[in-house]
Symmetry: C2
Subunit: 242 residues, 2 copies
DNA sequence: CACACTACAAGTGCATTCACTTGTGCGTCA
DNA sequence: TGACGCACAAGTGAATGCACTTGTAGTGTG
């Protein structure tokens, strides 16, 4: 998980900035985020978009020049990408984008299919009553579909529900893995991977999950979660971004 | 909430000392490993052993002093621990060990139970014939149980099998998650978490898995893997280290 | 005594610097 | 011509320096 993990700072910064010179825009200090976060995020976006395809070399010196920062935050950002496994590096060698990184987002979705249903089942046993109430309230607020800003609110509820279930699954590494998936999921949103129709259908699934969790029914919670995830992907089986 | 680092000097004593004291070594450059790797590994071992309990503060300045290295590799090692989720940090704040980190290894084992059976099922479809042959050969070599060095060889085969299946599951993030689990599994070995009997029983399970994978039978492969993992944990249900 | 304010110590984030390793082009020689 | 070797360019790992932020003890004030 990154420094300011997916938890509170979901307001992900825009990608396009006024470029002071051709190529890549200079990085400036964003609020609440370190330069490392910023560099990490940019590189990740470029990788999953396919601009940096598998095998591309990521040289800290060049990147620091292009991004207008020193090598230190670049090296740390690369270190995170290596921890994610999307970039590899051997001692004293240049970092390279792992072949197959273009499919990362769809594979992340498949991984969620393994992690989140069991997590929902576990959460149904461990989650507090207060947390359930919070989810119910949030879900009710999202309900009015006519609102033009509904899309954004539905997206936030999406995050809130899934991450809250992860929080209460009583297994820290599992929680961490799900959070990591949702960090990429955030990227997917930024890159326009989701559409209103998906979120709409997702909303119904969300309420089923909440109901099952409230009923303390692990099997139903897991099944509802699995259905929810399969629905989300069934809309765009061909795309790289899910 | 009690941070038990009442005095800042207490919580981290013994990781490393000035080189004059024998027994507790300064970190030196190990072959093929960077200082970052070394620091990361040491901190992780102390955390999962419970010496650094949840809530302990990890200050880069103190750690760099105690370990006899500069702050740079310490900061990067902390960054990795944060990425693992076993340590948390907010901007400009000290890193702290996440509460509940003492149970990390057993929770990792639970996570493996979610990841590895599906990975084995997928691997049965995607793995190459050559890889299967390699596994069969390695398995046959491990067979002679009388050898006193059998333990070490069985351990290596354990790693080889599980990681090779992860390699061939055709999902990079899943592969990465399993690798991460096995990094912790390695720690578990170092800390004496496994015994000969476990490995012995594990060996039989391994051959069932290889057979199912060779037969290209995903269900059986997944079932064999799940049984294998449950056996491994059933021997020590009470311990913290699995 | 409780509370706010202040100065100082401690810590973090980032830039810069240096030593060492790796890649590469070019000249030498078989 | 092609293999080898060598010097130089480029890159990485790690240490150090500096500016800024956070924690804290101490002081003054109601």
């Amino acid at each position: 998980m990154s420094t300011n993990s997916v938890t509170s700072t979901h307001d992900l910064t825009g990608i396009g900035e006024p470029p002071t010179r051709p190529g890549i825009a200079r990085i400036e200090s964003a609020a609440g985020q370190s330069l490392v976060d910023e560099v990490y995020h940019r590189l990740l976006a470029r990788i999953v978009r396919g601009e940096l395809s598998g095998g591309s070399e990521l040289k800290s010196t060049q990147l620091s020049d292009q991004l207008g920062v020193s090598r230190t935050p670049v090296v740390q950002a690369l270190s995170r990408l290596i921890a994610d496994g999307i970039v590899t590096q051997r001692m004293n060698m240049r970092a390279i984008v792992r072949p197959g990184a273009e499919n990362w987002l769809v594979e992340i979705h498949e991984l969620r299919l393994l992690l989140e249903p069991p997590a929902a089942a576990r959460a149904s046993q461990y989650i507090t009553h207060e947390a359930i109430e919070i989810l119910e309230r949030s879900g009710a607020e999202v309900a009015p579909l006519a609102d033009p800003k509904w899309f954004e609110r539905a997206r936030q509820f999406d995050f809130q529900l899934h991450l809250m279930l992860a929080d209460h699954c009583d297994n820290q590494p599992l929680r961490g893995a799900i959070y990591k998936c949702w960090q990429y999921k955030g990227l997917s949103y930024e890159l326009g991977g989701d559409e209103t129709q998906v979120l709409l259908r997702g909303y119904e699934g969300h309420m089923s999950i909440v109901a099952a969790v409230k009923a303390r029914d692990p099997q139903t919670a897991a099944a509802a979660m699995e259905l929810h995830l399969r629905h989300a992907s069934s809309y765009r089986p061909e795309k790289r971004i899910v």
